[in-house]
C-alpha cells in the first residue's frame, strides 16, 4: 500500500514536471510558440485559440495532479491530452499531412518526431498506470469506509 502510494506520487510528479515545463516554455517564448503553431499543418484560424488552450490545459492538469481530491481527474486529463498528442504525432509520422512541420517546444524541440512519439507513449502509459492505481485506491477507501459503517 505504501509502495503504491509512493509510486502514485512519483507518477504525478513526473507528469507535473512535463506539463509545467511544457506550458512555461510556451509562455516564456510566446512569439516562437505562436509562429510554430502557425507552422503546424492545422488551419491558421485555430492558432489564437490553441495558443491559450494548450498551455492553460497543461497548467490545469498539473494543479489537479497535486491535490488528492482532483488527482483522478488530473490523470484522466493527462491521458486525454497525451493521447491526443500521440495521435497527432502518429498522423505526422504517417505523412497524413502535406508536409512535416518542425517538432517544437522548449528543449523537446531537439527531439525528432519518432523520439516525440516514444516520449508521448511513455507518458500515456504513466497516465494509464496513474488512473488504474488511483481508481483502485479510491475503491479501497470507499469499501473500507463502508465496512466501518456496517460495524456501527
Amino acid at each position: 500500500m505504501f509502495k503504491r502510494q509512493v509510486l502514485l506520487e512519483c507518477i504525478s510528479a513526473l507528469l507535473i514536471l512535463l506539463f509545467v515545463y511544457a506550458s512555461l516554455s510556451k509562455f516564456l517564448d510566446w512569439k516562437t510558440f505562436y509562429g510554430e503553431m502557425n507552422n503546424q499543418p492545422l488551419p491558421n484560424s485555430w492558432t489564437p485559440f490553441l495558443v491559450w488552450v494548450i498551455p492553460c490545459t497543461e497548467i490545469a492538469i498539473s494543479v489537479s495532479l497535486i491535490f488528492e481530491r482532483t488527482r483522478l481527474l488530473g490523470f484522466y486529463g493527462s491521458l486525454v491530452v497525451m493521447g491526443l498528442f500521440t495521435i497527432y504525432t502518429g498522423i505526422i509520422l504517417l505523412h497524413f499531412f502535406p508536409y512535416i512541420p518542425c517538432s517544437c517546444g522548449g528543449v523537446i524541440k531537439r527531439l525528432t518526431w519518432r523520439q516525440h512519439l516514444a516520449l508521448n507513449l511513455f507518458f500515456v502509459v504513466l497516465s494509464v498506470v496513474g488512473v488504474v492505481f488511483q481508481r483502485r485506491k479510491r475503491f479501497n477507501h470507499i469499501s473500507i469506509t463502508k465496512n466501518k459503517n456496517s460495524f456501527v
Binding site: F2, Q5, V6, E9, C10, S12, A13, L14, I16, L17, L18, V20, Y21, L24, S25, L28, D29, K31, T32, G35, N38, N39, P41, N44, S62, I66, P98, Y99, I100, P101, C102, S103, G106, V107, T112, W113
Partner: protein, 106 residues
C-alpha cells in the same frame, strides 16, 4: 506520507520552473527579417512559410544589412505551406511557362 508527497511535488514544480527558465532562448533570431538561401542568393521569406523537418538551415537573418547572413531556423524551407500543386489543364493556347508550378492555397 504527507511530508514525502509535498517534498516530491515541490521538487517537481521547482525543477520544471528552473528548467523552463534555463532553456529559454536568450537571443531570438526570428525577431530579425528572415531570408532563405536559393543556392546563389538570399531572398526574403514569403509572408507565410514553413520550415519542414530537416537538418539543413531553413532561414537566415542579417544584422549588417546583408553583408553576412547567419543561420536561424532549422529545416527545409517551404514558401507555401499547405499549397497543392495543380496540374495545368490542357488548352488550345499554351500559357507562357515562367518556370514556376501553378499553386493554389487551401
Amino acid at each position: 506520507m504527507k511530508k514525502i508527497k509535498w517534498s516530491i511535488m515541490s521538487l517537481a514544480v521547482i525543477f520544471s520552473i528552473c528548467a523552463a527558465f534555463a532553456t529559454k532562448p536568450h537571443f531570438d533570431c526570428t525577431s530579425y527579417p528572415q531570408y532563405y538561401f536559393t543556392g546563389t542568393q538570399y531572398l526574403p521569406v514569403a509572408t507565410t512559410y514553413a520550415c519542414m523537418q530537416g537538418t539543413i538551415t531553413c532561414t537566415y537573418y542579417t544584422t549588417n544589412g546583408g553583408i553576412t547572413y547567419s543561420p536561424c531556423a532549422v529545416g527545409t524551407y517551404n514558401g507555401c505551406p499547405g499549397c497543392v500543386v495543380k496540374t495545368p489543364q490542357a488548352s488550345a493556347t499554351p500559357a507562357v511557362n515562367s518556370g514556376n508550378s501553378v499553386v493554389s492555397q487551401h
